[in-house]
């Protein structure tokens, strides 16, 4: 048998699996979004926008806000890991910051639900500490809770990538800036950050896509409207068996993540060039 044919034969099982488990379901979901009672139409999208346009805005705003905060925190943590002058504090932080990576989203939602509720642990501590009175306490179980959960869970992931990139910079670049009198903040912003920006961007985009797909956190923390697209999709299917609108919502969130993926691809292409 000619060699190219053997090669083709060898990749066939993998190709079939990708085709059956990934391409076909994706395709049927996309076509399902345009399927109105057996014929092509935009009815599902019309309905999706009528009922859930506030959810779409809510989702995009929440995920963008979380992405922004994750960026800030990971720059701060990565910066301290690279520039911190107290070796013990650096070691403790290095050990501590990765923990949330190993906690599933559903558990994060559950932990924060008991922590952030009106009678939750956070408010009890504040009341016990005399900082707030019981009347002043508020529940954080709304959009703020989702943002806190996302940032809590995704910051370590971006920090992991970012601090690796920072650590691989030539130390003498930092020392030469110190030698000329740059403060640590300036070194972080003017010397280190510009050089790790591509890594930060990649980490944030991967986080963005992950957060777009999380169902458990909005279900656990935000039991009200508006909520995230994922929760609306689940509701559409579980409550009404309405796959058409669920598919349309799925297609819309696919468009949003595709925009992020496009930025990601452009970035990796630029790095290779």
């Amino acid at each position: 048998m000619p060699i190219p044919l053997i090669g083709l034969l060898l990749v066939t099982p993998a190709l079939i699996i990708v085709l059956l488990l990934f391409i076909v379901p994706l395709f049927s979901s996309v076509t399902g979004a345009f399927d109105v009672d057996g014929s092509f139409g935009l009815g599902n999208f019309q309905k999706a926008f009528e009922l859930y346009s506030s959810d779409m805005i809510f989702t995009v705003v929440i995920v963008l806000l979380s992405t922004f905060l994750i960026g800030l925190f990971s720059i701060a943590i990565g910066g301290y890991l690279t520039l911190g002058s107290n070796p013990r504090a650096v070691a403790i932080l290095r050990w501590l910051y990765r923990w949330p990576l190993f906690v599933p989203f559903i558990v994060v939602g559950q932990i924060l639900r008991t922590f952030l509720a009106k009678n939750g642990l956070m408010n009890s501590m504040l009341v016990e500490g005399g900082i707030l009175t019981a009347a002043q306490t508020v529940s954080f179980l709304d959009w703020r809770g989702i943002v806190i959960a996302f940032v809590w869970k995704q910051t370590p992931f971006v920090t992991l990538l970012l601090s690796g990139a920072m650590a691989s910079l030539d130390r003498s670049m930092i020392e030469s800036a110190r030698n000329l009198g740059a403060s640590r903040t300036r070194i972080l912003i003017e010397i280190i950050l510009p050089q790790v920006l591509p890594t930060l961007l990649v980490g944030l985009i991967l986080s963005f896509v992950t957060m777009m797909s999380v169902l458990s956190v909005p279900l656990m923390i935000n039991a009200q409207s508006p909520t995230m697209i994922t929760a609306s999709m689940a509701f559409r299917i579980n409550a009404y068996g309405d796959y058409g609108v669920a598919n349309a919502l799925g297609f819309i969130s696919l468009l949003i993540t595709s925009a992020a993926a496009w930025i990601y691809l452009r970035q990796t292409m630029k790095e290779r060039a």
Binding site: D170, S172, M173, E175, S176, A177, R178, N179, L180, G181, A182, R186, E190, I191, P194, Q195
Partner: protein
């Protein structure tokens, strides 16, 4: 000499290892000092300690009488040029050179004038908008130098700045740097492992060995009057003979061996001693003659050796001979060629022969 930079009994340790074991060194204003040594001798550690990147466990560092031992790097009036140049790849040449001025809040117009001055000083005029990635090694090196000089430091510290350059460029950059240093009258401390580089560039050479200063002196002093076996070897006296010596006043008598005649050498600067010794000499300035020719034997002074030519080569200028003296062999350069297998006599002039007590048993 008035000390401008003064390092007193300075010790530095990395964890368990003491890298600098008590360094005393003073550098005059406007002087160019080279710290010379093989890798691991502590020369870069000493430079980084002067710069403020290492804190000594003991000792003090003073600049112009001011104690800077605990001062941060930027409060010492020093600028360091790194071995890797450490240019910031996301900034242009202008931004790299001007960064120190920006940190000092110099008004933008003054700063760009200063950057332009640095560029013309270093021949970088046309390259202001380039990024370091688009520069050659020599150009990067000059940008690093410009960045250090732009802030007008009192002391310029150079950490093997030429070691990443091509051999040919290195030779010209050596002269460029020392000419620039003399023109600006700046005090400079230069770290290198290259003997010739140190000799050509520096006013004074400090040879380090195992975290201690082995010898300090002008290039001529350390070359012609090495004070230890280590320095003699480091300065290129690679030919070794084991000899027995007897002190005779301020002279030493070398006992005759199977391949050498008895000789008396006069040592003005060195205490005479008796016992086993190592004699070292360079391959240059050695008299060579055929054994049948006794012109060498009639001259007095120095050490006369008898050997057989084992190998001849022509590295350029002089003929290089490997000569066997029994089990031992030495390398000797001569103006004419002696054939392989020829019996020859060698005369090492008195002032080219370095004798030190043998520590190696």
């Amino acid at each position: 000499m008035n000390a401008y930079l003064e390092i007193a009994s300075t010790r530095v340790r990395y964890g368990e290892v003491e890298v600098l074991k008590g360094i005393d060194l003073s550098v005059g204003k406007g002087e160019f000092v080279a710290l010379l040594g093989s890798s691991g001798c502590g020369k870069t550690t000493l430079l980084r300690t002067i710069a403020g990147f290492n804190t000594p466990t003991a000792g003090t560092i003073r600049v112009d009488g001011r104690d800077v031992t605990r001062q941060p790097p930027d409060k010492r009036g020093m600028a360091l040029v790194f071995q890797s140049y450490a240019l910031w790849p996301h900034m242009t040449v202008d931004q790299n050179i001007g960064y120190g001025l920006k940190l000092r809040r110099m008004p933008a117009r003054d700063a760009s004038a200063r950057v332009a001055e640095m560029k013309s000083l270093l021949g970088l005029d046309a390259l202001g908008q380039r990024k370091p990635g688009a520069l050659s090694g020599g150009q990067r090196q000059r940008v690093a130098l410009g960045r250090a000089l732009a802030v007008n430091p009192d002391i310029l510290l150079l950490d093997e700045p030429l070691s990443n350059l091509d051999a040919r460029i290195r030779l010209t950059v050596r002269h460029e740097i020392s000419a620039l240093q003399r023109r600006l009258g700046i005090t400079a401390v230069h770290v290198t492992h290259d003997r010739e580089e140190a000799m050509v560039m520096a006013d004074r050479i400090v040879i380090l060995d195992g975290g201690k200063i082995a010898q300090t002196g002008t290039p001529q002093e350390v070359y012609n009057q090495p004070n230890s076996d280590f320095v003699a070897a480091f300065m290129g006296a690679e030919n070794i003979l084991d000899v027995d010596v007897v002190a005779r006043g301020d002279s030493m008598e070398i006992a005759a061996g199977p391949h050498s005649l008895r000789a008396t050498v006069h040592r003005p600067g060195q205490a005479a001693f008796t016992g086993k010794a190592i004699a070292r000499f360079r391959s240059e300035s050695i008299g060579v003659a055929d054994a049948s020719d006794d012109t060498l034997g009639t001259k007095s002074g120095g050490l006369l050796l008898k050997g057989i030519v084992e190998q001849v080569s022509y590295p350029g200028g002089l003929w290089r001979h490997v000569i066997h003296l029994g089990d031992n062999s030495v390398i000797v350069d001569a103006e004419r060629r002696f054939e392989q297998g020829a019996q020859v006599h060698l005369r090492v002039p008195e002032d080219r022969l370095y004798i030190f007590p043998a520590h190696r048993a």
